[in-house]
């Protein structure tokens, strides 16, 4: 499923470090996170609340809330560094080359402007088209995201729309300037279960149509399984595992991913209890030495408590940050 990328990835994140200076020292919210997103690919980003999923998205699009800042690593869009661009250049990338969909459609739209006003403003910010042409495009977009009677509804205010419809409007806005990459930050979490699937479908379809890549941030493994090509698992600001979605779900390797998958109910298994991972994710100022997961890990050994594992390649497409898969150790075990 995962496209093999020969011409280089669309987005490449290398050893990304995000820090928050506080009065009691600097907190590392993201610690050496690396991954690629290929052209047209959907990368799922999973992890618990506070693992750094949204922060990764914010760092890529250049909207980290101060005092948060990128303290290391680089972010490349088509091989070009974008993490250190001047503010004005980065602004031109936002919306035009990287779009973003936020979690809560009820608060994502400015209540005082009609949908048409917001769409036209966005289109005309990035494209040199007339008001009339922008409006035509806006109506077509609304129609495409599935707003019935788009030509008429476009002049309504956001509060005239339901939550699901508003999220469609948000998607239309995020895609208005035809970005190459869309970061969707929990796009369905705030929505009614009955419309979640529709929204994901709309997003996926339009992006596929336009060849746009998607970084889908969520903690809903079901959505990931159905939508993503590859999945990245974050834990305490570090990448635990990354690989094709089927492999990771069916044969998770990192003990944390194994626990995560075990905690999802399935229809085929009749388990008495869902497995759970004991303990909870550490606060950013209390991450253990060595592997961040070691206090909760059932398979941890001495090395895990001392030395932090880097991503270890497992075959062509998979990488796991766990000493269990250290080639040296495996050789020993065998």
């Amino acid at each position: 499923m995962a496209p093999v990328h020969k011409s280089g990835p669309l987005l490449s994140v290398r050893d990304l470090v995000v820090e928050f200076p506080t009065r009691r020292g600097t907190l590392r919210a993201l610690d050496k996170v690396s991954f690629d997103i290929a052209e047209g690919e959907v990368l799922g980003m999973v992890g618990e609340s506070g693992a750094g999923k949204s922060l990764t998205g914010a760092a890529i699009i250049g909207l980290l809330e101060p005092p948060g800042r990128i303290a290391g690593g680089e972010i490349l869009l088509r091989g070009e560094r974008i993490d250190n661009l001047p503010r004005e250049k980065m602004r031109r990338i936002r919306g035009r080359r990287i779009g973003m969909v936020f979690q809560d459609p009820l608060t994502s739209l400015n209540p005082l402007y009609t949908v048409a006003e917001q769409l036209i403003e966005t289109i005309r910010t990035h494209m040199d088209v007339s008001e009339k042409e922008a409006r035509k495009r806006a109506v077509a977009l609304l129609d495409r995201v599935g707003i019935p009677a788009a030509a008429r509804r476009i002049d309504d205010y956001p509060h005239h729309f339901s939550g699901g419809m508003r999220q469609r409007v948000v998607i239309a806005l995020a895609l208005a300037a035809e970005p190459e990459l869309v970061i969707a930050d929990e796009p369905t979490t705030a929505l009614d279960v009955s419309v979640q699937a529709q929204i994901i479908d709309v997003l996926k379809e339009i992006c596929a149509e336009r060849g746009a890549s998607v970084m889908l941030i969520t903690h809903d493994m079901g959505v990931i399984a159905e939508t993503a090509d590859r999945v990245a698992v974050l834990y305490a600001g570090r990448l635990a595992e990354i690989g094709p979605v089927r492999d990771v779900i069916q044969a998770a390797e990192h003990p944390y991913t194994v626990g995560l998958m075990g905690s999802i109910p399935t229809l085929t298994q009749t388990a008495e209890r869902l497995t759970q991972i004991p303990g909870s994710m550490p606060r950013l100022d209390a991450i253990q030495q060595g592997c961040a997961f070691n206090p909760r890990c059932t398979r941890a050994f001495d090395r895990c408590r001392v030395e932090r594992p880097d991503l270890i390649a497992r075959g062509e497409e998979r990488q796991v940050a766990c000493w269990l898969y250290d080639p040296a150790k495996e050789a020993q075990d065998v």
Binding site: R91, R96, S108, T125, H126, H159, L173, A177
Partner: protein, 340 residues
């Protein structure tokens, strides 16, 4: 569906205005009751009308002739009926119809209040936005500190300080009066058309507006900071809109919704509290007239002033609510939705 909304909003608007009008009448009646009570409890009106040698019999006769022995409700009814036509009787002190007195003084007060209100709004919003966007730089720090002084210094002291610096020491501006005035229309005499009139307006307008300006500025700053943290601002940034569009198109408009209310109400208090400024600068407005009538227990003028200020507040409140309606589309429809 859109047309249905529009029709709803229209009829809804009318119902809203009618409801507010009824409320306004109730407020005015309550204030009229207080004003009317002044006549009965602030000294005996007969005593202030007659000489010392008037006999008790003559006083009783006069009391009867003036209807002061009628039941309370009848007297109040007459007072309200006359007041609603603008008739507040004759000033005890100046022996002129009260309404004439007030109308001749009103332009001075309104000009002063409007100019200081506009100054307060323009500079208040400007400084508020600046200090919100440039948090932490030295200029906004200075503005914030200076605004503390504006909030904490009493109005009369600011007036006296301004007179001392600009009228006494620098001799740039006059310290009292309204300068030359020009008659415009039947009863409006304006100082805005002459140079001395404009020069005389500067110091009182600053004095009167400074407190309101700092208030508006602090409100705008707080609201703006709040709005800048909202999701729709983040989303606007994520769409790559320019800072200008985000700050002034999206953030400021949302900031203004609550600011309009406060500013409107402040305009009311600017008119009401112009008393102090008018006294300091000997500004010939209704505030000064009121202070003088208090000194001479000129009850008809006091009562009329009370009613006038109440009317100003009621009208401004109404206008503010309508503005709210105009700025925020949610209000227009939420009412309609609530009924469906």
């Amino acid at each position: 569906m859109l047309t249905v909304y529009a029709a709803d909003a229209g009829s809804d608007m009318l119902a809203f205005i009618l409801r507010r009008l009824v409320q306004s009448v109730i407020v005015m009646l309550t204030v009229a009751l207080v004003a009317f009570a002044l006549f009965r409890f602030v000294g005996d009106p007969i005593a202030s009308m007659v000489g010392q040698e008037t006999t008790l019999a003559e006083r009783a006769e006069l009391r009867d002739a003036l209807g002061l022995n009628d039941p309370f409700v009848v007297q109040f009814g007459k007072f309200v009926a006359r007041a609603s036509t603008g008739d507040f009787g004759i000033s005890y002190r100046l022996q002129q119809p009260v309404m004439e007195l007030i109308l001749s003084r009103l332009p001075a007060t309104l000009e002063l209040a409007l100019v200081s209100g506009v100054l307060a709004f323009v500079f208040g919003v400007g400084f508020g936005v600046y200090t919100a966007l440039r948090r932490g730089n030295w200029l906004s720090g200075t503005i914030m500190t200076a605004s503390l002084i504006g909030v904490s210094l009493p109005t009369f002291l600011i007036g006296v300080l301004l007179i001392w610096v600009f009228a006494v020491e620098l001799q740039w501006l006059p310290s009292f009066g309204r300068g030359e005035v020009v008659q415009v229309g039947n009863w409006w005499r304006t100082g805005l058309l002459t140079e001395s009139g404009r020069a005389s307006l500067i110091l009182p307008a600053i004095t009167l507006g400074l407190y309101q300006m700092t208030l508006i500025m602090r409100l705008v700053r707080a609201e703006m900071l709040e709005v800048l943290r909202t999701d729709y601002i983040k989303f606007a940034r994520a769409r790559g809109l320019s800072n200008r569009a985000v700050h002034f198109g999206h953030a400021l408009k949302n900031t203004l919704v609550p600011v309009i209310t406060i500013t409107g109400l402040q305009l009311g208090s600017i008119i009401a509290f112009s008393i102090i400024t008018e006294t300091v600068f000997q500004w010939p407005g209704v505030g000064a007239l009121f202070i003088n009538s208090v000194r001479f227990v000129d009850v008809p003028v006091m009562a009329a002033y009370l009613m006038l200020i109440a009317l100003v507040f009621v009208v401004i409140n109404l206008v503010v609510d309508l503005l709210y309606y105009a700025v925020d589309p949610r209000l227009r429809v939420d009412r309609a939705n609530a009924r469906h």
